[in-house]
């Protein structure tokens, strides 16, 4: 941020006459607007893509009425939700009912702050980035629990309790599955972790190809992350065939839209984390972006990062429309009896590997054998 302020004050003489904090505030305001605009547009487009993916998998056409190929469907949906009547049930706990969508929205938006979009495109490169994401996405659990309790509706209560139990159970494997990347990079800063995956190895410098344990860690993380975002096959909280819609049964209009947007925002954040920690983030394969001009490097790294994240999001959609839903007992068994022990083994394996081979991965070892 300091560099952005210095750059602006050097380019525009008028800004140089203002105090530092005013310029910094203006920069942050613009950044916030850009991130909000990006998040809302992405969430809109993601709902459209999701419906198209669902339609393709079920051999239907999907939305095709608003605009060419139904491209403007998400704008129509957004305007419709905005202009709907806002209902609060008479017996609901009004304060909690109103508070819950805010918590969910802010929690999912706050995680965008540390998403490393490009080589220098990041709102705040916190030195505890991974920790921060895990902390603020936990706000969503509280929001969902409050929504379930505050609605004073049996479906909502059951959905909220199930969501809390599920997200909380999968929080442990998610945290453990991120550890191998942290061990390899020796840092919690997302930019630092991505930088450690660069170098002459190209895509084989990515953490996923480092050793067999990190390879499995990526898939463990992705599975647990599916459950964290309440996506099928782990969508017990909203299981529409038993709970109607789960914790957001009583929400209408824009409050419902907040929950909906938060779900897609969370999808983006977990996919961004998976891409940053295991798939090299914005590292462009076999091109050293830091050597290019700043504008080109940023555009290139932004494009590559978004491509990786969107590919992962499409996998999530594919999984959603392919697999059936798990039962509650299967869900809990999956987390505590399979994922938690496996992530323990993975952390052990990676730390032994780092000690045994001095932190070198299989590709680096192969290259040194070949005399490079």
């Amino acid at each position: 941020m300091d560099s952005a302020v210095a750059f602006l004050t050097s380019k525009i003489p008028f800004l140089a006459s203002l105090p530092f904090w005013v310029v910094a505030f203006l920069v942050m305001l613009v950044v916030a607007l850009v991130i909000l605009g990006f998040a809302l547009t992405y969430e809109g487009i993601a709902t459209y893509i999701e419906r198209k993916v669902a339609a393709d998998i079920q051999v239907r056409i999907g939305p095709n009425r608003v605009g060419p190929n139904g491209w403007f469907q998400f704008i129509a949906d957004g305007v419709k939700l905005l202009m709907k009547e806002d209902l609060i049930p008479a017996k609901a706990d009004k304060f909690l009912f109103v508070l819950a969508p805010y918590l969910v929205f802010v929690g999912s938006f706050a995680a965008f702050v540390v998403v490393p979009f490009g080589i220098s495109l990041i709102a705040a490169d916190l030195n505890i980035g991974v920790y921060y994401v895990m902390a603020v996405t936990s706000l969503v659990v509280i929001g969902i629990l409050l929504a379930g309790w505050g609605s004073n509706n049996k479906w909502a209560l059951l959905g909220g309790m199930r969501a809390a139990a599920q997200i909380v159970s999968y929080e442990v494997p998610v945290g453990m599955a991120l550890l191998p990347a942290v061990i390899l990079a020796g840092s919690l800063s997302l930019q630092e972790i991505i930088r450690s995956q660069g170098g002459y190895l190209g895509i084989f410098g990515w953490n996923i190809f480092h050793n067999p344990f990190t390879f499995f860690s990526f898939f463990l993380y992705f599975t647990a992350a599916l459950a964290e975002t309440n996506r099928t096959p782990f969508d017990i909280p909203e299981a529409e065939s038993e709970l109607v819609a789960g914790y957001h049964v009583e929400y209408s209009g824009i409050r419902f839209a907040f929950f909906f947007m938060a779900e897609y925002g969370d999808m983006f954040v977990v996919c961004a984390l998976a891409a940053a920690l295991y798939l090299g983030g914005w590292q462009v394969p076999f091109v050293d972006v830091s050597g290019l001009s700043p504008l080109l490097a940023n555009l290139l790294s932004l494009g590559v990062f978004l491509a990786k994240v969107i590919a992962l999001i499409l996998v999530m959609m594919w999984v959603r429309w392919t697999l059936p839903r798990l039962r509650v007992d299967q869900l809990m068994r999956m987390s505590w009896k399979y994922l938690v022990p496996l992530t323990f083994v993975n952390v052990l394996g990676v730390s032994v590997w780092v000690l045994a081979f001095d932190g070198k991965g299989i590709p680096a070892l192969v290259m040194s054998l070949l005399g490079r």
């Binding site: 916030a32 805010y102 004073n152």
Partner: protein, 117 residues
Amino acid sequence: MQEYLPVLLLLAFAVVAATGFMVLSGLTGPKRFERGKEDPFECGMPLFSDARRRVTVKFYLVAILFLLFDLETAFLYPWAVLFRKLGLFGFIEMMVFILILVVGLVYAWKSGALEWQ
């Protein structure tokens, strides 16, 4: 602490934006209140009891397990950051820690806390 200022600003901005959307929705949305609309939704059936009822104790058990294991995970992060500097010493220390954790998991498993019947 200066690096957290952007985070705080963005959080404040998110709250303002959410409030803005709410106000916009309140201005544009219809307001036609009827008695039936304000009842909780129960698939069209008349209400027969309040939703404020007790939930099964298993949810609390999961919450307690979560507290224990998530705290342990939180302790593992600082170790993971410094792992390369600590070397073998850090490895053995953490193995003892994880061993205790695994004993706890095995105990919870054997005592049936992980079953969901």
